[in-house]
Each structure stands twice: as structure tokens, then as C-alpha cells.
């Protein structure tokens, strides 16, 4: 089985966006080509030298994928696009800091976008609450409701990378805690609130979930030991 970290699959079409959008769907172009990591690495090196054409190619190839990450954390399209714009400004200035020895270009890009989205989510939590018209506890609880996205996304990821058996040792709470923190950028406090668990327990669930994931990947030769 090939290492999923070496591919960048763009999932579009049949899957819904993290939030029902107010914009008409026909205005949204669909991204349907998977960027090759060799291409990404080449464009990154060109961007570091100030090559605007490579910068645009990098944007065209990755922006749809990266927008999805910000969108599911922020649950708001406008904010997600704001994050994406900030992220690409940072990419232009920081491309030279990407070190191919440490990881794939897509991993580097994902972390820029996800970190910025999490920062914005936390700094604008009040604005998000007002936009949703709910108080914070209701909104967080809704994220942990049965059938909500994060658990399903984690299950899908576990299946696609082929570690169902290994990850099956996690309890449902551990899986849910991990999914909420990774996919939606919740803090430990918010996870504890959503799952009605003590803070220390919530932290332990997340930690164990991640340690299991790494061990499972290492067992399949898909992560550094």
C-alpha cells in the first residue's frame, strides 16, 4: 500500500462543504486535479526565488484543498477565504523556509492554513457565535452530536489509510476527542465541554488517540519511528 502522505487527493463533488454556503453553488468552480508532490516541490522552490508564475500554479493546484481545511475549522466561508488569502501571502514570503528534508510541501502548506484558521477561530469566537445565533455551549455540543462530521471524517481516514484494526483499540470517546481537536480546532477545554468530561480526561483522550495513530502508522511503515 502506498503511503497516503505521498498523495494529495482532492475530494470534491459528492461531499458537502463543512457548512451550507449562502453562495450559489454554480458560482463555485470545482477543483478536480490532484497536485503532484514533485510539482509542488518544484513550484515551492521557484516561489522562494520570487517566481510569480510558479506562485500562481501553486495556488491553483492547492487552494481548493486548503480552503476546505480552513472552512471546516471556521465553519464560515468568508473567514476561511480570509485565512487562505493570509496563508498565501505568508507562503510568498516564507517559501524559502520550506525544508523538503522535513516533510512534503502539502504538509507544510496544510500547517500554515490550519494554524492560521485555529488562531482566527480562537480570536474571533465571539463573532462566530453571533454569526450562528447560538450560545457557545450549544454550538460546541452540536459539533459532538451523533452523525456530525468529525467522527465520520476520522472513520473515513482510518479506513483509507488502512489502520482500522489498529485504531479499533481506541474507545469511541478517544476517537471523538481526537476528531474534534484535529478537524475543527477545538481546544481541550471545548472538547471537555462537548463530551461532558473532566479536562484532564479530555486531554488524555486526545493524547492517546494521537499516540495510537502514530503507532498504527509506524506499524505499517507510514510514519517515522
Amino acid at each position: 500500500m502506498r503511503d497516503p502522505r505521498n498523495r494529495t487527493t482532492l475530494r470534491v463533488g459528492h461531499e458537502r462543504a463543512p457548512e451550507a454556503s449562502a453562495q450559489p453553488l454554480e458560482t463555485m468552480a470545482k477543483t478536480n486535479q490532484a497536485p503532484d508532490n514533485d510539482d509542488l516541490a518544484r513550484w515551492m522552490s521557484r516561489v522562494a526565488l520570487g517566481d510569480r508564475q510558479a506562485f500562481e500554479q501553486l495556488y491553483r493546484a492547492t487552494s481548493g484543498y486548503l480552503l476546505a481545511i480552513a472552512w471546516r475549522v471556521l465553519q464560515h466561508r468568508d473567514l476561511a477565504e480570509e485565512v487562505l488569502q493570509d496563508a498565501f501571502v505568508k507562503v510568498w514570503h516564507s517559501a524559502g523556509m520550506y525544508d523538503a528534508r522535513l516533510g512534503l510541501p502539502m504538509t507544510w502548506l496544510i500547517n500554515i492554513v490550519r494554524n492560521r484558521a485555529i488562531d482566527l477561530r480562537r480570536s474571533r469566537s465571539n463573532a462566530l457565535v453571533s454569526a450562528h445565533g447560538e450560545d457557545d455551549s450549544e454550538r460546541i455540543a452540536a459539533l459532538a452530536a451523533p452523525g456530525a462530521g468529525p467522527e465520520q471524517w476520522l472513520d473515513a481516514a482510518i479506513q483509507r489509510i488502512g489502520v482500522q484494526e489498529c485504531m479499533g483499540q481506541l474507545t469511541p470517546a478517544q476517537r471523538q476527542a481526537l476528531a474534534l481537536v484535529y478537524y475543527q480546532g477545538l481546544t481541550h477545554v471545548e472538547v471537555a465541554q462537548a463530551l461532558e468530561a473532566p479536562l484532564g480526561t479530555a486531554k488524555a483522550w486526545v493524547r492517546r488517540g494521537l499516540d495510537y495513530l502514530r503507532a498504527c502508522l509506524q506499524g505499517r511503515g507510514m510514519a517515522a519511528s
Binding site: L10, E15, M28, G64, L67, Q85, H93, G103, N115, Q152
Partner: protein
Amino acid sequence: MNYLRPELLDALARAHALGTLSPGAARRFTRVVAGSAVAAKALADWQGVLQTLEEGAPGSPAPRPRVWDGVQQRLFERAERTPAGEASGPRARGGPLAGWLRWPAGLVAGALLSWSLLVLRPQTFDMEAASGAAPASYVGVLQDAQGRPLLATAARRHGSVLTVRLLRPVTIEPGHALTVWAWSDTDTTPRRVGSWATAGQAGTIALPAPAESLLGRMTHLGLSSEAAGAAPTSPARPFIAEGACAKVW
């Protein structure tokens, strides 16, 4: 604290990759990563583990065209409106800059000039406020060895971008990038703020944290030329320019 102790390093790298470190701890760990290949590897390994979770996540529509337009506008449009005036040929960091002693007097002048620019010509920094009043910002005007203004900087107090504008052309060695540093009167060790591409005279530096937390205690700014792509923990000396970091609010 020894951040490189294996158990602690692994825990910090895991939390940083996941995004659960507090802002202060995250900033400290970012500095550790910048100065340690071992820490950088630990973080990258965890980021790689987490990326596998993207396999199950939903996609989204492509971003609207205005996103790319905004990127272009922020990065290039103002730079292209300025006259091309970069001097040609590499200029060493030392040479004619050696022996300058005019900075202390320049700090006051720089602060005054930066205040004047912000209030009288806020569009210089793309900061025109709807009310007509300049927004709360950190500003600076850095001067060269001869005391001539060389670089203007501005960041909104709670903003995440430092806007920079060269007031005179600067030539740096190929493969280098202009880098801004900040330090305070009480802690004179310069902290790297960031670098920007020098395709034009204006640019932006994406800040890793809100300006308030990065510049709130800083009183001085410096400009150096560093190898592009490097994340040095100390600047190349002497500075190309130096000036006060002033709060305007």
C-alpha cells in the same frame, strides 16, 4: 527548561502540530524549532502523522476569484506602482555603512516621521480609517548609517501583517532577503520579525502572532540582509538600518 529532552520534545511537538499549545508556549516552541534540527524533525514527524487524517476530510468548492485577487493586491500591486529604482550590483552589508553613529538622534526623528506619515498619509500603509483617524498601530522608520530614512514599517495593533516600504532603494546579495528584527531597551537581543521578498519597494510580512504580542514590548527595529529561506536566530551585523518602534494610539 530543556526543551530537547525526548519526552518533553515529543509532547510539545505533538501539541504544537495539533494546535493545542497556548499562544505563549507555541511561540516559545517555534523559537526552539527554528534553532534545533532535532525539534524541527520532531514537529515535522507529527505534522506528517496528522496529515493522514486529511484522507477522510470533506472537500470544498474552489475559493472565489477575489481571494487570489486579494493575494495579488496585497503582494504586488503597490510594489508595481512605485518607480523601479533598485540600484544594481551587490552591496555588502558592511563597507560604506561602517562607522555610523547617528542612530540615537535618528530614533526620535524616525518616530516623529512615522507618526507624521501615519496621520497625514495613512494610505502609505494602506491604513486609511473610515473615521479619518489613524488606527492604533506600531510604526517605525528605520535609518541608515547616514541617518537617512530607509524603511517605513507599520502594523495594526492587533493585526497579523507588518507592512514595509523601502523609502530608498536597497541592493542586497542574490539569494538574500531583507529581514526585520525587534528588541527592547530591557532585552537587547534582537528577535526576528520576518523577511519579505524584495521584488518591489513595498511588501508585507505575515506575523506569526498578533502585532500586539510581538511588538508590544519592543522599542527598536533593525533591518538586515539574511540568506533567503534561512531562519537565523541572530541578525547579520551591522544592521542596514535601525530605528524606533513606536506605538501610535
